[in-house]
Symmetry: C2
Subunit: 252 residues, 2 copies
Amino acid sequence: MLSFVVTALDFLHNGLMEAHGEAKPAAPRTARERARAELTAEIVEAARARLAEGGAIGLSLRAVARDLGMASSAVYRYFPSRDALITRLIVDGYNSLADHCESAMNTAGTQGPQQWDALAHAVRGWAKANPHEFALLYGTPVPGYAAPPDTVDPATRIVVRFVQMLAASRPRSAGSAERTVTPELAAQFDFVGETVGVAPDDEAFIVGTSVWTALFGFVGFELFGSWNNTFEPADHLFSAHVELASRLLFEV
Amino acid sequence: MLSFVVTALDFLHNGLMEAHGEAKPAAPRTARERARAELTAEIVEAARARLAEGGAIGLSLRAVARDLGMASSAVYRYFPSRDALITRLIVDGYNSLADHCESAMNTAGTQGPQQWDALAHAVRGWAKANPHEFALLYGTPVPGYAAPPDTVDPATRIVVRFVQMLAASRPRSAGSAERTVTPELAAQFDFVGETVGVAPDDEAFIVGTSVWTALFGFVGFELFGSWNNTFEPADHLFSAHVELASRLLFEV
DNA sequence: GGAGTTCGAGAGCAGTGCTCTCGTTTTAGA
DNA sequence: TCTAAAACGAGAGCACTGCTCTCGAACTCC
């Protein structure tokens, strides 16, 4: 179980490109390759279905094999381990969430508040539509888990977009180099900024990260039942939170 | 696995009172009762040790039994199911967290900002000291899980304290009955207020819940690795967040 | 002291992830 | 086109899990 990283990597380097198939040089040519691609997709699909109704904890490789009418050992020809299959679902989940959010932001107004509103509601909407997938992405990880490198990029897509939005509204004043945070924090902010390619203001960075944690904390509380249905439906509270965050983000 | 609620309840009504033994009429008298109480405690202790180093996913009843040198079936004399044992750990965890936070708040200054600072750092400190326990309390729940009634009270302790702190600093103005939020949200706030016995201002309630989700979202991100060590160590960012929250909470 | 309850240990069932073997199918090279 | 090599599916098997049942021993209470 803990050989997650090792076992997952060789798989990912081979069979993951079908999801976003632009980097793949050519479509599967031989019959065997065609069948392999198809069966891989079927396995993922069946696994996703099981995930949707049982959660990650109940996702059994044998059950997936049973659903597909094949021997459990045959699945191992396509995914070296259960963890590898789950990693695939994680990557797909991050991409699905990012697609959903980007689409929402692209159809919304270009102003900061509109972008933020679209993003926040998109995150919550996706999470409520795919609760188990959200739990898989942002819930309790496997102990000793280190995110496989291939999951990092998809996971980062959405936060990159958020930081870009932040920088667009509140760029760091180009003039002076004086920072308003501790040097350690400034270095961390710089690292993020360099990675993303933009540089929000220090204060905007603090507000942004705080609002980000609040957003995912909210969705987590709502989905995982930590609120004991006190705020059910939570739409009104969520809207109030989004509004408050909007003021903090954009009313300087 | 999904018979959680049913199986856990009868257990909880019987064997849970040892944790906070005030309601218990008398200490165990007969040798058998003594042995039972002792062995129950030993099982919980062994389970907690396994939880601390393997997480809830790797907490195996058989392994706990092995650690104690007893047959796995014997454990079922004390806990009707693995879920019941985990529920016990959850209840203890909530109480441990609440104890930790209350102690921190009681030794801190009585001013709102000081109370908040103590609470926030206490939550994070406890979570970092007991990451798997925190994950058990606030991470992904079992699908279809409905919090057993006996876990609700311990879970509520800490938020009650927070709401009391909120109301102490920003009580709802007694004069007029005009609310600043939607009727639905006002009703939910009222319900919380009645449960706790105090009534914070509407705006304080919004800020409070938002700050609360941000706090637990932060800790979750930090613990579950969702940040990919971008903010490691996260102390500076956390302090900045706490400070920002403090301004929102107390600078009206 | 004896009836009745509680307990610990062991076997057993169904399920899991994963490995290995074995015969079949498909591919690739001569 | 034929053949060696690679890929594949199915099945048995191992070690593990939660949980149930039975059976003899220990203990409680009358």
